[in-house]
């Protein structure tokens, strides 16, 4: 019998309350959901802070589980899809590595219409065909990923937005009016 909090995982990966519930349940060796925590705002800083507070009462708990909760994640939005994904930018060391991960998230390689690319040929420009990979920074500006070195990018990127190429530009024909 699926519990309510297990069903929630299928609907919305973004649910912070669910992640904490899973964490506690695993630690306590029980499958009963803990008392509900107040839902924090979904910012990467809050995820990080919450994880830090969670480990205080659990000495000796080792790396992987904790590190995966402590590593800040950013939301990845593919325009037009209602379900968002999350990704840890810090777990990647280069744009190429990030591009590959994004491709695996969103591109169905088994689809005949998708050109097969070997790993070494994947980069930001071709990872998701027909789309540009952009990010929102701390000032809420939308910028193309790739201009900064990867380390600086990780520091300023708040969210990743994958946008159809056609949505990016309004190529004005001579004399045509462009809306303000």
């Amino acid at each position: 019998m699926k519990r309510r909090w297990q069903e929630k995982q299928l609907i919305n990966n973004d649910d912070q309350r669910f992640n904490s519930a899973e964490f506690y349940a695993k630690l306590m060796g029980t499958t009963t959901p803990p008392p509900p925590l107040p839902l924090p705002p979904t910012t990467t800083t809050t995820t990080y802070n919450m994880a830090c507070h969670n480990i205080h009462g659990f000495p000796g708990i080792e790396d992987d589980l904790i590190m995966s909760k402590m590593v800040p994640q950013v939301t990845v939005v593919l325009e037009g899809r209602s379900i968002c994904q999350r990704i840890s930018l810090i777990k990647h060391t280069s744009y190429q590595s990030l591009a590959k991960a994004l491709r695996h998230m969103f591109v169905d390689e088994s689809d005949h219409q998708v050109e097969h690319l070997s790993d070494k040929d994947i980069d930001l420009s071709n990872a998701i065909p027909g789309h540009v990979i952009a990010y929102e920074d701390m000032e809420d500006d939308l910028l193309l990923a790739g201009d900064l070195n990867y380390k600086d990018f990780v520091r300023v990127a708040k969210r990743i937005r994958i946008i159809p190429v056609k949505a990016n530009s309004r190529k004005a024909r001579r004399g045509a009016k462009v809306e303000p």
Binding site: V132, L143, R170, K171, A172, R174, V178
Partner: protein, 130 residues
């Protein structure tokens, strides 16, 4: 920070420190490498294009070099290229200075410009009237 400490910071850090990165005559802070670093890259937006770019001002040798860089970045969004600074161009290039004023790029010598530029915008000439 004393000179010896600054030298070892520069050696150990993989951020490139350029003497012109230390702001002169610009209002904000004067703290040091860490805060000046973010002025190296400025954001560029273009009318009609949703996604902006970042350009490293210190990588450019001058205004022509900047124009070429922007052409590479944004030229594909136009019918006949940006052709910035040319009279026949459909576009103008503006920058926002440290006092939050928008000015035409080229109004001051390049060396002064790189210390003051905070942001760039490529504007369609027929939109300038407002």
């Amino acid at each position: 920070m004393g000179w010896p400490q600054l030298k070892s910071y520069m050696k150990n850090s993989d951020t490139v420190v350029h003497p012109l990165m230390i702001p002169q005559g610009c209002d904000d802070e004067t703290e040091g490498v860490q805060s000046s670093e973010r002025w190296v890259y400025v954001k560029v937006n273009m009318d009609g294009v949703v996604v902006g770019r970042k350009v490293c001002i210190l990588d450019q040798a001058g205004y022509s070099s900047l124009a070429l860089q922007l052409e590479e970045m944004f030229g594909k969004h136009t019918m006949s290229g940006l052709q910035l600074f040319k009279t026949e161009s459909e576009f103008s290039l503006f920058y926002r200075d440290q006092n939050e004023n928008w000015r035409i790029v080229g109004d001051i010598p390049w060396k002064a410009f790189i210390n003051c530029v905070k942001r760039l915008r490529i504007v369609r000439k027929d939109h300038e009237v407002s």
